[in-house]
Structure formats: structure tokens, C-alpha cells
């Protein structure tokens, strides 16, 4: 253990209450978005609705859900998270390039 002076913040009751509200809301939103995505697919299968629309809709829901969880559960929204945010954006950028690039190549050669 390092011998640095350790004055850290212990959240007070009001902060705990508000943080609990934020985190629980994120959980409720995640569950809601998941139900929405499964519901959309079940609806598309049963009603024979446009598959292209269903696919774009569930991918959009997944992106929203991941953003929500990264910012709230993984604390990217908090102060002092500049470098983690940079890592996160770079990861999102390279991930998108990898997936789009490889799919484009496979379509091109098909």
C-alpha cells in the first residue's frame, strides 16, 4: 500500500440517495430496452414485418443501451474520467472500423 495521504470522499446520505436513483434508473432502462428489442423481434416474426427495419431498430437499441451502461454503470459520466473516455471512444472507433471494414470486404467479394 502506498503511503500517500488518503483523504477520500465518503458520500453523504443525500448523494447516496441520488446515486442510487441514477443507478437504479439505468438498470430499469436496460431491462426496458432489452424487452423492447426482444419484443420487436417477436413482433417482426409473427407479423412478417420488415426485417431490415427490425434489424436497424434492435442495433440502435443495443447502441443506446451500451452508451447508457458505459456512462452510468462504468462511471464515464463522472469527473476525472477524461482518459478512460478517450480509451472508450478509440475502442468504439476501431471496433466500428473493424466490423464495417470486414463486412464491406465480404460483400465486395461475394
Amino acid at each position: 500500500m502506498s503511503g500517500e495521504s488518503s483523504t477520500f470522499k465518503r458520500p453523504d446520505r443525500r448523494e447516496i440517495r441520488s446515486e442510487l436513483k441514477v443507478q437504479t434508473t439505468a438498470f430499469a432502462v436496460s431491462i426496458f430496452l432489452t424487452i423492447l428489442a426482444f419484443g420487436a423481434v417477436v413482433y417482426a416474426i409473427e407479423q412478417g414485418a420488415s426485417q431490415g427495419f427490425a434489424v436497424s431498430f434492435i442495433i440502435a437499441l443495443a447502441i443506446v443501451q451500451v452508451a447508457f451502461q458505459a456512462y452510468i454503470w462504468m462511471h464515464l459520466k463522472d469527473k476525472g474520467h477524461g482518459v478512460p473516455q478517450l480509451f472508450f471512444y478509440m475502442a468504439v472507433y476501431v471496433t466500428a472500423m473493424t466490423v464495417i471494414g470486414l463486412m464491406f470486404m465480404s460483400w465486395w467479394s461475394a
Partner: protein, 219 residues
């Protein structure tokens, strides 16, 4: 350890940090030491690298998911109720690890450990369901070598399952090693690092259930 100065109440900048009366920013317990800050950055760098690794598996899956010369199709294989239950379990375990970190910041040791044990149990049930699922698919003729789709599917979903299994080992080690320890600026970053990793495993699953299972049913 200091508690919040009453005058600092109006200066709260965000959850996690606030400015004390002296004007210095007070971090929460897991970020108070240099070691804690380094660990947080290290885990984020690891997460960024892992994202690229998973991206390659996702890209390969998307490119090969229609390559099924023989063997069952995704439409016949996947059972949405099972996948939904697995998703709900993993989401809940991510939330229980959030609760563990919240209790850790309040220095409530037994509450933190309780939430971590719950996280472990949920993660373990997820893993059992995944083993059941894979076993079921193999009996249906969908194996690692049955088609390119099979290879891409088991590589991606199995790699995620291996991450869950590693996370469970990590959490168990953490719980056993720190069973008799109090929450200190030395032990807190260990729990926080695990919680970041566990959220990442959950994030990857959000894309797996969307791209593999849901798109397998409609795409």
C-alpha cells in the same frame, strides 16, 4: 479519512468527486492512491484492447453467419426465452456489482461482500445456462466444425463465456483473499477493477444477444 465538509455541499461537481473547502478535489476511495488511479486506467486500456478483439470476432461472425452448407439454421436453433433469461441474469449481475461499489464507497464491508456474492451467483447461473445451451445445440447437430457459421458462433459466444468464467474466478479469488480485510484505499481498487471488467462483459453480451440471437431470428 475525512468526511465531507458541510460547506462543500453546494460545490458538488459530480458523483465521485467534489471540491472541499480548501479547493482540492476529493476522490472516492478507489481513486485516492496513485496505485488506484493506475489500476483504473489499466483496466480501461485493457477494455479498449478487448473491444478490438471482440470486434474481430463479431466481424467474422457477421461475414460467415449465412455459410451453413449443412446443419441447422439459426432460426431453428435459437430459443428466445432462454436467451432472454440469460440476458436478464447478466444485466442483473452487472447491477449488483454497481451496488457493491456503492456500498464500498460508504465503507459498508459486509453489504459490499453480500452484493459481490450475489453477483457471483448470478454469473454462475448464466454460465450454467450457456453450457446447457451449447450442449443442446451440439445434440441438434450444430457443432464447432459443422459449418463456418458454427465456428464463428462458438468462437464469439464461447469467447464471451470464457470471459464470464474468468470473471467468476477473479471474483472468487477477490472474495476469499479479502474475506477478513476491511475496505481501505488498498483493497477498494481491486473491487472497482473487477466491477469495470464485469460491466464490460455485460456490454459485450448486449451486442451478442442483438447480433447473434435476435438477428439470427430475423436477419
Amino acid at each position: 479519512m475525512t468526511t465531507t465538509h458541510p460547506n462543500a455541499m453546494s460545490d458538488i461537481e459530480a458523483h465521485g468527486h467534489e471540491r472541499s473547502a480548501e479547493g482540492e478535489v476529493q476522490p472516492t476511495i478507489e481513486l485516492v492512491t496513485q496505485e488506484g488511479k493506475n489500476k483504473q486506467l489499466g483496466v480501461w486500456l485493457f477494455i479498449a484492447a478487448e473491444s478490438v478483439l471482440f470486434a474481430s470476432f463479431f466481424a467474422v461472425y457477421l461475414a460467415l453467419r449465412h455459410s451453413i452448407p449443412n446443419g441447422p439454421q439459426p432460426k431453428d436453433l435459437f430459443e428466445l426465452p432462454l436467451v432472454f433469461v440469460m440476458t436478464a441474469i447478466l444485466l442483473t449481475s452487472s447491477f449488483t456489482s454497481v451496488m457493491a461499489v456503492m456500498n464500498m464507497r460508504q465503507l459498508k464491508s459486509s453489504a459490499m461482500k453480500g452484493w459481490l456474492v450475489l453477483t457471483w451467483l448470478l454469473g454462475f447461473s448464466f454460465l450454467l445456462l450457456e453450457i446447457y445451451e451449447f450442449n443442446h445445440y451440439v445434440h441438434m447437430g450444430h457443432t464447432f466444425t459443422s459449418s463456418a457459421f458454427g465456428t464463428a458462433f462458438y468462437s464469439l459466444v464461447g469467447f464471451h463465456g470464457a470471459h464470464v468464467a474468468f470473471g467468476l474466478l477473479w471474483l472468487m479469488t477477490l472474495l476469499l483473499r479479502n474475506a477478513r480485510r476491511e475496505i481501505t484505499p488498498y483493497t477498494a481498487p481491486k473491487v472497482y477493477s473487477f466491477s469495470l471488467y464485469w460491466h464490460f462483459v455485460d456490454l459485450v453480451w448486449v451486442f451478442i444477444f442483438t447480433i447473434v440471437y435476435l438477428m439470427g431470428k430475423v436477419g
